[in-house]
């Protein structure tokens, strides 16, 4: 007898035929990643949770439009990206999203030049990420934390790979400078 794990493709096909339980299993596999992606974008837990629910609801309603089950992840993150930026536009319709200042959160602490204890490392990283532009932060999130390839990121963000690389590499240079004091204290 051959055992095969139930893959996302199987669940997607079943969910597209109206199997809610299959979709719930799919949600359980992806909800944490989508939530953390939206948390990096919004820097607000409540917003991230609300958006995550909206993302999966839209995904369920539009699952039949997904032609290739192998493209589920970029497709899902594309929905998440659109939902997040839709929320940004609703809250600040008069300004461009790229001009929005970093959102103040409970995780923000000063890093540059100040001593940072190892226990505060994750807070320092969060603070450094907040200093990036929203586009740079999203590129770092998709690449470093979500592990997408450049091609997939281009699909999610609807822009050329060259733009993705430009945002990511600029962000990486800034993060190197921001995190240098912490790294000098011995991150292994």
């Amino acid at each position: 007898m051959i055992f095969r794990a139930v893959e996302d493709g199987d669940l997607i096909r079943q969910a597209a035929r109206g199997n809610v339980e299959a979709f719930n299993l799919l949600v359980s596999r992806w909800e944490k990643r989508v939530y953390n992606y939206l948390l990096r974008l919004t820097a607000n837990r409540e917003d991230a949770l609300d958006l995550t629910q909206d993302v999966f609801l839209k995904a369920y309603q539009n699952l039949r439009k997904l032609d290739d089950a192998a493209r589920f992840a970029p497709w899902l993150y594309r929905i998440a990206h659109n939902e997040a930026y839709s929320m940004f536009r609703k809250r600040r319709p008069e300004s461009d999203v790229a001009d929005l200042p970093p959102v103040a959160t409970e995780t923000g602490i000063a890093v540059g030049g100040n001593p940072v204890f190892p226990i505060e490392l994750s807070l320092a990283v969060a603070s450094a990420l907040e200093r990036l532009t929203p586009e740079q932060r999203e590129a770092v999130t998709l690449k470093i934390y979500q592990g997408f390839k450049f091609e997939e990121m281009a699909e999610i963000l609807s822009c050329p790979v060259s733009t993705i690389k430009s945002r990511l590499y600029t962000a990486l240079e800034l993060l190197k400078i921001e995190l240098a004091p912490i790294e000098a204290r011995g991150v292994s």
């Binding site: 109206g18 809610v20 979709f23 719930n24 949600v27 359980s28 909800e31 944490k32 990643r33 939530y35 953390n36 948390l39 837990r45 949770l49 995550t52 629910q53 999966f56 609801l57 369920y60 309603q61 039949r64 439009k65 032609d67 490392l121 994750s122 990283v125 969060a126 990420l129 770092v140 690449k143 470093i144 934390y145 390839k149 450049f150 690389k165 990511l168 590499y169 990486l172 993060l175 190197k176 995190l179 912490i182 790294e183 991150v187 292994s188």
Partner: protein, 200 residues
Amino acid sequence: MSCSPFDLKDYFFEELDGAERKQVEAHVTGCRTCREELSRLRLTGTTLLSLREEEIPRRIAFVSDPVFEPSAWRRWWSGFWNTPARLGFGSAALVSAALVVFALARPAPVQPVRLVQVPTVQTAQAAPEVSEAAIQARIDQAADRAVAARTRQLKDEVAAERQRLLMVAAELEVDNRRQHALFMSAAEYGPPRQPALEAK
């Protein structure tokens, strides 16, 4: 400025294929500057990954709700439209539309006119003439039939009533005889006793 054959960041992000990666690794082995740059990238990456993913505060689950589910028609249409059949359907629809437009726009052909002699029907002359006397006779016959039927019905009802009255009279006769017999018996055995008066 890196002197690597390929961008060290592309190597760091694993966006190079196998041959390109080997070239970069060979270069880094002999180039101190690129080795240090790659080391800094790795250190930054490690630092960034110290930011752990958070658990989602509340699990998300859906229940089957017809409100959120497309109708059977929409499911069928979606399934149909996402198949190669849509091309055939589209072509057929286009041809049908063209035929309809052609049929509506084309002038109707003129048929040659031929005169035909149609015989006229003389209804007034052909109809049989019915006289007033005949009509009156038919009415009288119908009235006579109705009167005779009613008379027979009444006679039957009278006979039935007479029969019923005879039966009632016979029953009365029987009752009278029974009553007479009772009077005779009472006279023979005397009046009934009155126990209450005797006790006093």
